[in-house]
Symmetry: D3
Subunit: 244 residues, 6 copies
Amino acid sequence: MPSSGRPSGRAADALRSIDFQIDVNKYAEGSCLISFGDTRVLCTASIEQSVPGWLRNSGRGWVTAEYGMLPRATDTRTDREAARGKQSGRTQEIQRLVGRSLRAVTDLKGFGERQIRVDCDVLQADGGTRTAAITGSYVALHLAFEHMRRLGAVTRVPLLEPVAAISCGLYQGAPVLDLDYAEDSQAEADANFVITASGQLVEVQATAEKTAFRRQELDALLDLAEKGVGELVALQREVLGLSE
Amino acid sequence: MPSSGRPSGRAADALRSIDFQIDVNKYAEGSCLISFGDTRVLCTASIEQSVPGWLRNSGRGWVTAEYGMLPRATDTRTDREAARGKQSGRTQEIQRLVGRSLRAVTDLKGFGERQIRVDCDVLQADGGTRTAAITGSYVALHLAFEHMRRLGAVTRVPLLEPVAAISCGLYQGAPVLDLDYAEDSQAEADANFVITASGQLVEVQATAEKTAFRRQELDALLDLAEKGVGELVALQREVLGLSE
Amino acid sequence: MPSSGRPSGRAADALRSIDFQIDVNKYAEGSCLISFGDTRVLCTASIEQSVPGWLRNSGRGWVTAEYGMLPRATDTRTDREAARGKQSGRTQEIQRLVGRSLRAVTDLKGFGERQIRVDCDVLQADGGTRTAAITGSYVALHLAFEHMRRLGAVTRVPLLEPVAAISCGLYQGAPVLDLDYAEDSQAEADANFVITASGQLVEVQATAEKTAFRRQELDALLDLAEKGVGELVALQREVLGLSE
Amino acid sequence: MPSSGRPSGRAADALRSIDFQIDVNKYAEGSCLISFGDTRVLCTASIEQSVPGWLRNSGRGWVTAEYGMLPRATDTRTDREAARGKQSGRTQEIQRLVGRSLRAVTDLKGFGERQIRVDCDVLQADGGTRTAAITGSYVALHLAFEHMRRLGAVTRVPLLEPVAAISCGLYQGAPVLDLDYAEDSQAEADANFVITASGQLVEVQATAEKTAFRRQELDALLDLAEKGVGELVALQREVLGLSE
Amino acid sequence: MPSSGRPSGRAADALRSIDFQIDVNKYAEGSCLISFGDTRVLCTASIEQSVPGWLRNSGRGWVTAEYGMLPRATDTRTDREAARGKQSGRTQEIQRLVGRSLRAVTDLKGFGERQIRVDCDVLQADGGTRTAAITGSYVALHLAFEHMRRLGAVTRVPLLEPVAAISCGLYQGAPVLDLDYAEDSQAEADANFVITASGQLVEVQATAEKTAFRRQELDALLDLAEKGVGELVALQREVLGLSE
Amino acid sequence: MPSSGRPSGRAADALRSIDFQIDVNKYAEGSCLISFGDTRVLCTASIEQSVPGWLRNSGRGWVTAEYGMLPRATDTRTDREAARGKQSGRTQEIQRLVGRSLRAVTDLKGFGERQIRVDCDVLQADGGTRTAAITGSYVALHLAFEHMRRLGAVTRVPLLEPVAAISCGLYQGAPVLDLDYAEDSQAEADANFVITASGQLVEVQATAEKTAFRRQELDALLDLAEKGVGELVALQREVLGLSE
């Protein structure tokens, strides 16, 4: 595929440099610092020995996520949500998305009445923080379940298959993979895809930022996303030592 | 198309009964009470003679939306957000979606430095409140611009083309159009599509509620949505007295 | 009684056109959309199977009310209380008044340890929203108790007698009944009366808006209110199918 | 008037011991610590050299009030509103009432574009805090205007006449004046009257606490209130050194 | 010690006039209105018959404190924290300090699973409100424990020894005791010391307001504080009728 | 100095392993990731081109700080302050301390009317987070000023001298330097010292956690702190390339 004139010089279907550092937090049952280029998200998975009230005596567990950005994760400093006294609509939207994505590949009957809280904190943001958060959270969640297995709390990791996420967009008329901030802020359309290792769709969120887009364009973005998620899942498996 | 075993007995590709009542509020520059079956949303468009600070002296206007539900819009009473002291993540997600959808078909340079605030208040909810809100809001927004035109504040309605929204889902394995609550709460996957009169996509939000879904299934849902939006746009044009 | 120069041309002792639409909400145990002229308030009564903590094991029930206004219920759009993060003093004052008024005619020992929550949401405001809310809420509450009786949860409707409310005021020096917004905003004094079918007083709230008023003027307002409430109670009985 | 069996042994028409201590705060332009028996409210009036935005360039001033209770002003400690993060409906209702009552006797055109903020803080509560607050606030406000006159900021105190407030109620079937907490918590009906020195009514708030009341009973309460306010105004004039 | 040029003319090591009025609140189990010159703080101690959740079944009690300032306690009126909807960082810092100081001299195992809440409300502020609050709170707390002893709830007052607090500072280069506001606002450094009757340190908080200070200066401030606390403890013992 | 029986085996006067990583954030004008053993705090300094309102037209700048902890920075997960909707008293206390400490060594007249916001976010907490935050913030602030100097916005770095902070405490009766969490949670007393390179004191905060302490003990803690800060300042100078 020829160069698409991307600011980074990347090919249209090229991911940024992806990096997973695991076990970066001495307290969390699972943790992963994920980088998509200059985007860096610290994901921790914390096990709690009880579930929300509406799940009590159901025999089921729960997985939930929270998301935050450090004030200077961004080019211009953003006010601290704790100081403003509330989480923005964007923050809530993202943490709901991360939670749903993880639950879609988790066997909620497979780890007792426990809750896993995944925290995704963006240390540096250069586009794609929510997709990095999902991709890294899966790794942190897997590590937390392995921790439980080592302790004998579960006999197997109750995850159905890996899940990862990637953004795609229409940039100067062409579909491109894994937008960085320079592209994201100029893109005509922006889409986030959450896809499992077996290629099933978990979430599709496509938004016309400037002008509406055609169905064929959505198809082209989905083609790119399938390629990108394939590569991300291979990296997740590698860092977790999982065979395919 | 044969019956798909839907609780309502509707065909898989059948909308519920759709109704638009316009000019239902004596103060609002544009208003529309829209019904999708038993879902009823009151949409009002209010013109303000100034824009948010970041648009001052830009020559551009802005369109924004807010969303709310009356406490007993739902089967079981929901606590009032004003009493709880904050809007839920769901509310914020929806009002951001409605605002983006309207802006996608609005010529923001075409009505001066004014802001239109669209309020979508759900009087009764039976599934599909966000898609009803978008579809009704377009009508209220159009009426508000017509009001400005009659006053001479604009020379033409600064809307590029109609926009409408519809939900689709996988219910008992089959793709169906315009989910009511009975279906929505049981669906395997749920998708909302915002599509313009010319068939361009503005927003696609597809979510696996129970299990991940295949790409062909997303395609089938999109086929249904295109059909449904076509019917909704025809009704919008009819109530607004617009030729195609 | 001669014309009093009211903007609406009404006689000094004339109510606006009053309308009750009942059972307008498919979920609420009781509901009523009441109109006092252009003022429209949607009242729903919701039954909950438990009481606040301080009433547990008392054998008594509770009735409480909440009040809200849609943002464009008013001539100029009002900010949404849920977005501002708190209810105004005015809102809290009104919902406390509605709750007290309903409890004054309810036999709290007559329906077990249940709570009825009445929601009064103003769809359009043209003066007198709190008195319309009380008058319509009584109807919604009665319908909810009838619903309980049909289900066998109570053997009789535990309401002592109907209650209704009306505003009166001194407008251009003369006492007038049922102020609309044009009058209310210019009145020298403004009073709200909550009165039972048998003519007992439940609440009297009279306020000098511009200048203090004389005791005889309060008497004249009370005379008007008694007449107005008499008419409202007759309409409540009619819509509820109650004999006098 | 014979004893009415009141817990305090007071005659039905007897006020509690009333005391005004003025200039109790070294910073406030006007201050008054008022006692109605064991009820003690500290009232301060603070002059600000600007008005709220909606009054700018109107040539008019404004008077507003705030109300608070110390946590242990009450028999059982009440949570601090600052800690709970919001003022209760009751607090807001009272501070709106105090503000309206003071404005009713103030010539808002008589002291330039200034705002007087009156703070009423209940140090100890034994019934009647809102009426003590109004009665003491008038004194603090008068003192603040005298302060302005001494500085030459106004040529005369812009107050039309004194205003005071008192509660009355139906206690064991009989009308009584100036309820203390023991009576207030048992009263069948409770009324607060704000009345000027010349006997004009500013606010009437009568509430059926247990059962609705008759019009003649309201009249009897008003008779008592007129007597009580007469005595309070005489004391206000004495402490302020005003002739009648 | 010669005059240090203090605005008040006090000697460098002289306290302001100190006054304790006890039992000033008819409801509180212990109460004390303390004055350090023009600084006046009302301290009440309220006994609750249960402890916070984390102490249940521990056999231990708890002592906690809250702090507030009336809006016109200060030269320029300060906004009410209840109206702003949150307590400032300063308020929280002070109330945590008061609570720790009291707990340091309380035998938490000596009064069962009860909680004492101490409220410190500043009626007038002229510097040193936090040290006056601690010194007065000790008295209120002692009185509350005596109240419990009279009722037989404890056999002895579970306080190890008196505690008091005082501020010192570097003013125009010289160490001075018990800063009033005129000094405090100009001081180069400001320190608060919480010291027990036997001379043990409970809290030391020294802050460079303008320039950093030397270790010998800290020593000089501590010398002054020991002298001041000695005098305060003598006054506490006198008002409480305690022998040394 | 012999072993003091510390859990870590450190000598009583030994710091943990200290590490500074600078320029770890691509956007911040200055940044430093500081480690005191397992405590890790990310400090960023952000330059804003305007000052708070009260400093406008003063010719002076301002330095302020905010502090936060990631939810799983701690052994047991802590709720996110942004989700709870407010910052704790502890958080506010710390961020005020960091701001004061930095301002004490900053020439506020030396960088124009600009504000530097320093954010201290704890990635992992093992005791001493506030002292690490101050020590790392000084480095980030210095780097931000160097950035301004390179751009020509200032001619010299407007910092008077380095400042650093360290905690000390009484652990099992003995004074020890740089408490880790295992010690901190068991210490009899805990003190934080903020000291400049020239040995001047900026802040002293000593707290009796279990029992009050003697003046000689405070002296011993201060001896340790002076030694520790000396070592920290040497490391700050090294990483910043400053001569002594």
